[in-house]
Structures are given as structure tokens and as C-alpha cells.
Amino acid sequence: MSSPNSAYPDTPEQAMKPKRHEWPLWEVFIRGQHGMSHRHVGSLHAPDADMAVKNARDVYTRRNEGVSIWVVEARHIAASSPSEKGPLYEPSESKVYRHPTFFDIPEEVGAM
């Protein structure tokens, strides 16, 4: 296995460099104290997953920011591209009835 390109999931292909033998890049996700989902907080380099978790703990939870850490190697993330913005997101723009505020409920019915 050679070390992968340290390209972010979002790095455009034309900006990618030939492979170098560097520690791979990991994306870090942290769950905070209040039962929320894991949230992307940043990235770091580490030789393997164990070290990535240890480094994430040192870099991203120095001030009690979290109770759980996920790391995933950046090259394993599949991402949508900006050119798909139209086909992907425009269809929902016209569907205003998907929002609760679309419906007028009389005041006397009470909270709903």
C-alpha cells in the first residue's frame, strides 16, 4: 500500500499533485456533550486510524469539546460536486408544501 494523496474530499482533481509518501489525511468528527450527532470539526495527518484518534483528541478536544471521536481517511469520502448543484438541490426549491408553514391552521385550533 502506498500512502494516498493528501487530497481533501473537496480538493479539485486538477489541483492534485502526484503521490508523495506522506502520512494520509483523516477527517475528524466529534460528538459534543449534549447528545447531538457527530459533527465534522477538521482534519489531520496520521499514519493509521489509532494515531488519528489520538491526534484528534489532542488537537480537537483540548477544552472538553467532545465525548466521542470518529476519524475516516479522507480518500474514502465520496462528495457531490458543485456542478451538480442545480440537478441536486433545485427540485426541492419549488416544493414549498414540504414546510409546516405552508399550511394555515386557524388560531382557535391551538398549537400544532
Binding site: 500500500m1 500512502s3 493528501s6 487530497a7 480538493t11 479539485p12 489541483a15 508523495r20 483540548r62 458543485p82
Partner: protein, 325 residues
Amino acid sequence: MYAQMIKSEATQEDPEKLAAFQARIDAGEKIEPKDWMPQGYRKTLIRQIGQHAHSEIVGQLPEGNWITRAPTLERKAILLAKVQDEAGHGLYLYCAAETLGVTRDELTEMLLDGRMKYSSIFNYPTLTWADMGAVGWLVDGAAIMNQVPLQRTSFGPYSRAMIRICKEESFHQRQGYDIMMKMANGTPAQKKMAQDALNRFWYPSLMMFGPSDKESVHSEQSMAWKIKMNTNDELRQKFVDQTVPQAEYLGLTVPDENLKWNEETGHYDFSQPDWSEFFDVLKGNGPCNRERLAARNKAWDDGKWVRDGLLAHAEKKAARRVAAE
């Protein structure tokens, strides 16, 4: 600032694309790494964010100098935490630069062989414990002036890194001021030490903002792209206005006989630093340039076997996993 004298790259691209790009920035949209961007925007940002990251890393050296000699265990723990934060700040910024298509090791190599710069301020020595106070109060104070507006910069990853950094930066400035208060209210010898630290760090702190850029073309382009939010002079004035009353509270004297409140402008008038000294430090002739780069090169060279060993171990483990499947 942590990024000084950043030249913006000229851009020769499809005018239509350029106009659409500028319109997005003017509308306050964030530019993300996969979006189309002018080559000049990309290159200028790599240079600017990279220099900022290098400054955080090299900036650990003047303070690291005092970790083993902090006057109490508490001060030592605080300083250690602060220096650790700087490493984190460097890392957030390197990650932001990497999204633009440069690798971490490339950035490091460019710092080590002098192709990329770090802030002039870290080429000054930290001679006494009071310097730990002056660095936190003045150097981090000056950095905050620049970093707070940069939270609104147009490049998404840079903006997000700045938001993280700003959250931690106020701890840095306050711990520095706390040291200054202790020293200024201490024995006459301690107060003298605090005054001496202010005397030595005042002008180098003013230099951090870079020379006046009122008529700079580079600055104009960077401001249009929202990767520079204020002129150097604006930020420097803001820093002086904020810092002078803080020095007065400490009972210390800012080493500038021309410093006085200007009723008309509502700002302090002050003397410019010696810009020939600034350019000389940038050229590599500051008091500590050679020492700083030598320390970073030594750390990189000495750490090579660790980097290689961990990578070899990870690859061996991965190969075994594949074989077992």
C-alpha cells in the same frame, strides 16, 4: 501580521468566469475548495494561509524557550497549554491550505528551505519572563486584530479555521496580560522587567501589521477577494487605540514620545516603527532568524525516523489485514 507582504497573483482568465466569481464574493457567498476559482486567488491564498500556519509553528519557539523556566508550576502549565494551542492553530491552517492543492510536507519543506516566510515578530528573542507577558498581550493582541475580521473571509476552510483560532486566542492574550499585571505590581525590579519587555516588543508588534498599503495593488485585489479585510494602517491604528489604555492601567510607559490622544480624529497619534529594520528582518537578518530556522530544520530532520517508522508500521499492518481477508 502573521501573514505579511503577501503579493497577490495576477489573474488572466475568462472575464465572464471572473465576474461571476467576484459576484459570488460580493454577495457574501463562501468559496469552497471544489468551486471554480481564479488561479491568482488559489495561489495568493496558499501563500497567505501557509505563511500564517508557519508563523504559528515558528511562534512556538520564543515561548517554548521559557517552559522549563516558568516561575511556578501553574505558570508552566498555562504556558504549555498556550504553546500547544499554537501547534493546533498551525495545524488548522495547514489543513485549510491543503484544500487548495498543496500537501503538508510541501508546505513544511518550503518553510525549511526559506521559500516561504513566517511573521517577522518571531525573529526577536525572549530574554526575560516578562517577555512571556509581552508576547501574549501584544503579539497575540495584534494577531487578534487581524484574525477577528478574517473569520468573515471568502474562502470557507480559511474562515472556519479562523473561527476555531479566535475562540482560543483570547485565552492567549489574557494570560499574557495577567503576567504583565503581576510583574507591574511586583517588586521594583519586576516592574522594570515588565517595562523593558514593553520597550522591546512595542515596535516589532506594530511592524506585524506590515508597511502602509494604502496604495498597494496587491492589497486592493486581496480586499476585493475578501482574503484581506482591512488595510494594514487601519488595523495598526486599532491596535494602538486598544493597547495604550491597557499599558496605562499597568502603570507602564509606551516607548513613543510622540504618542498622544488626538481629540479631532478620536485616535492616538503615534510614531511609525523603523521600516528598514522590518525589511532587514524579513530578509533574514533579524536577531533570531538563523536560530529559528535551524531549530525547525533540526526538529524535522530528527523526527524523520519517527515519521518513517510509523508509516512503515501502518503499511505493514494494512498489508497483514489484506492478507488475512
